[in-house]
Symmetry: C2
Amino acid sequence: MSVHRLTLGDVLDEHRRGRPRGTAVVDGDVRLTHPELGDRVDRLAVALMAAGVGPGERVLWLGQNSFRVLELLLAAGRLGAVFCPANWRQSADELAHVLTDLTPKVVVWEESEAVEKARGQVPLNARWVRSGEEYESFLTGDGRALPGVVSAEVDDAAPVLALYTAAFDGRPNAALLSHAALVAHSMALLHVRQMEDGFTFLACGPLFHVGTMMFTLATFQLGGTLVFTPAYEPVEVCRLIDAEKCTQAFLFGPMIDGLVQANAGGAYDLSSLRFVSHSPEWDAMITVDDSPWCASKMGGYGQTEVGGMLTFLGLGMGGAGYAGRPSPLVHVRLLDADGTEVAPGEVGEICARGHSLFSGYWNRPELNEAKSRGGWHHTGDLGRREPDGTLTFIGPKLRMIKSANENIYPAEVERALKSHPAVADAAVIGVPDERFGQSPKAVVVLAEGASATAEDVIEHVRGEIASYKKPREVEFTDAIPKRGYTPDYDALDERFGGGAYPGA
Amino acid sequence: MSVHRLTLGDVLDEHRRGRPRGTAVVDGDVRLTHPELGDRVDRLAVALMAAGVGPGERVLWLGQNSFRVLELLLAAGRLGAVFCPANWRQSADELAHVLTDLTPKVVVWEESEAVEKARGQVPLNARWVRSGEEYESFLTGDGRALPGVVSAEVDDAAPVLALYTAAFDGRPNAALLSHAALVAHSMALLHVRQMEDGFTFLACGPLFHVGTMMFTLATFQLGGTLVFTPAYEPVEVCRLIDAEKCTQAFLFGPMIDGLVQANAGGAYDLSSLRFVSHSPEWDAMITVDDSPWCASKMGGYGQTEVGGMLTFLGLGMGGAGYAGRPSPLVHVRLLDADGTEVAPGEVGEICARGHSLFSGYWNRPELNEAKSRGGWHHTGDLGRREPDGTLTFIGPKLRMIKSANENIYPAEVERALKSHPAVADAAVIGVPDERFGQSPKAVVVLAEGASATAEDVIEHVRGEIASYKKPREVEFTDAIPKRGYTPDYDALDERFGGGAYPGA
């Protein structure tokens, strides 16, 4: 056993000793101290092992936010296994892709038609455990005596968390993050957010997304308190901030406006929240925080593959580049297509090395080789170094649409469009949208002799992928202009009103 | 090359790009930007390589504080070599031990009689470079053309810094710290000290000691500015804080009093210093800082072998234990002699694992095996976990007394003795006991003008710790013989009848 090892389980075991009375998690009626959480994780690890989960095996969560997401992550970590909280709002077809790709040994799920449909589609040698009573019974061995403790020798370089992201070829890939990467990213957040003893985080964004997950893990690393709520609901979020004296929550623009509206009468005391300045009404309700993270309004550049944030505006405040400077545990190069560093002022691909980087995608050996060529992780995003050394994010190397803070990859929507029998070819661009920043617009070529309305096509996409990715508008045309095999997005933007892309 | 690697050289290369205009070091007339520092380090690495320094070889510094200490550390790191800044104020005999033990390939030195004498005593196949002009000439290849760049593939688990410490057998040992350990320890300091962009550290304590070195390295990690001064000189320290707008300096109690005195007239503006509250005069001169590090008055527990600090009071403020809680990158157990964890409230050896731990002592395979048995680093110090989970440092585990099969650590009993108001100093030894094997005996120095009987003192100890640990006998004396800060137990045994120690 290396004297340098630090797994998530080691962190948990430290908190059991160092914070025996501290509240680790709050979720509805559930309230657990660190030792209570530790005991449940130990039992859960034994139950998972008994269900066939060994080193490298996968455990899947299909449900809303829950403290069980943290329990399952930590229990999988005890076994050297990988835990994946997946987007349960996906279509049955998308969920079936996740099941087929990940082949989990245990699936913990909440009631959903799409989940049940996907389960029927994919024959899996897996134990399905319904969240709630069945989960509690599973955790205690279903009444059977289970072996006492798991004592696997887990290396902290082993992957422990898988998050689906990056639909390069139209299908998402699961980014694998190791214990060491998650711990390193948490340290960067502790530093930039100046998280202190007693930090309480309200996980009101989706836990299958790195944005909420990264602060959940940093709070865990610190030994703070995690408050879970199934999903963002403004009045309930206000109530929880007041009741649990939350220090931070997963919030941005429109979500903050929702809270201001929900708390217009001042029914809830939100002053425990030390957060980002947003509007006079908001600033009067909370305590505006001056940590580099809050003062920079959470600016920076990140992606799931780097554990969350790669650069922080708070580490380059007042600089020319909006993405600031890298986390102290990574380093960044801007490389051209040949792997040569570009000069300051020139645009190159943002490439990175360091402690918080992922361990590749699950089950994608060729993609992994390409993404890590030359010993640098290639983010697939473009950046520029300003004369003062700070970084600016330019945009994805391929296109990406950002709508209501969700990433939409044109390739993924195009794939769904093209699966409609009447569609011969399709491309998707982002058009400026007052409410969501951008919204996706489809440009469609119909098959000879076929016919379909815009409504038909949109409805078809809604059945294929998450609803928020569906085009809001459809324009029919004779041919998609191309650059090689991919659509000529610049030409499409010019002709069909595209714009407002992230980083532009 | 691992995509996760982060050596000190990688950090330097990041700063060259990310902070092209930032001041990296100030030392007298020398003032270098990050790119200038980087260029000098590159040249120095080539010069060291040409002088025979390869992976694993040692480079020794014998001199006062200088920016060259940082340059040599970074250049050695480029080569996978180890840099050691040694205490140049040692005697010729002590310096000869360092030379013999470390067998460096290059020694950079400042004028000193002891150094010259030691050099004469130890025949070494080493290049001796006098700091100053000779060093500058060495750095530029002494006029000869040197190969361009060093491109060694250095693993960040490779040791890069050696600091002499821990004279277990009367001779100090060099603790080896890897790139990864130094980076991890720096991250903990960035977090607890809440170091922000623009941090400027004045290295006015000795760089051969981990206390000054750890903040030097954290400032380097952050890309802040390092101000070097040869040694602590109150007026010069005040001048530098004012001139360079230093954010922090290496200072504690008596050093702070010296600055208050030196700046009594208010000649220097020290308000840039964000530091620990100390006295009304001091607090009026500086900006009192509320970061966990400063608010806790730099409390905690540390040693060179853990990279500096293992625990921080600032991570357990208001807790019962004066040492607070561990750094987020380590975990701690209190173990008995058999490696079993002791219960909360019991005294055990402080043992640790985690990212900032050292890689063993140079050239001490047997000691290393003993210190890392069971996969835990054994600090050689005693601690206790309080009911709230925080930690208390009890004292060094120099001796153990075995009485009626119970382990009794003198440091714990001494601590209880010294909490009696009439006791100025105390030491505890084990004396042979027919019935119990050994029994504890106290040697006590009373405070001036105070009086107490043996019974008083024993009764007091009984109220503080477990009854079996109380001394059976008390002898009063004028002074406790010392070795450094700790009692000279051998002398005490001889004078007061100690013996029958376990394993003796």
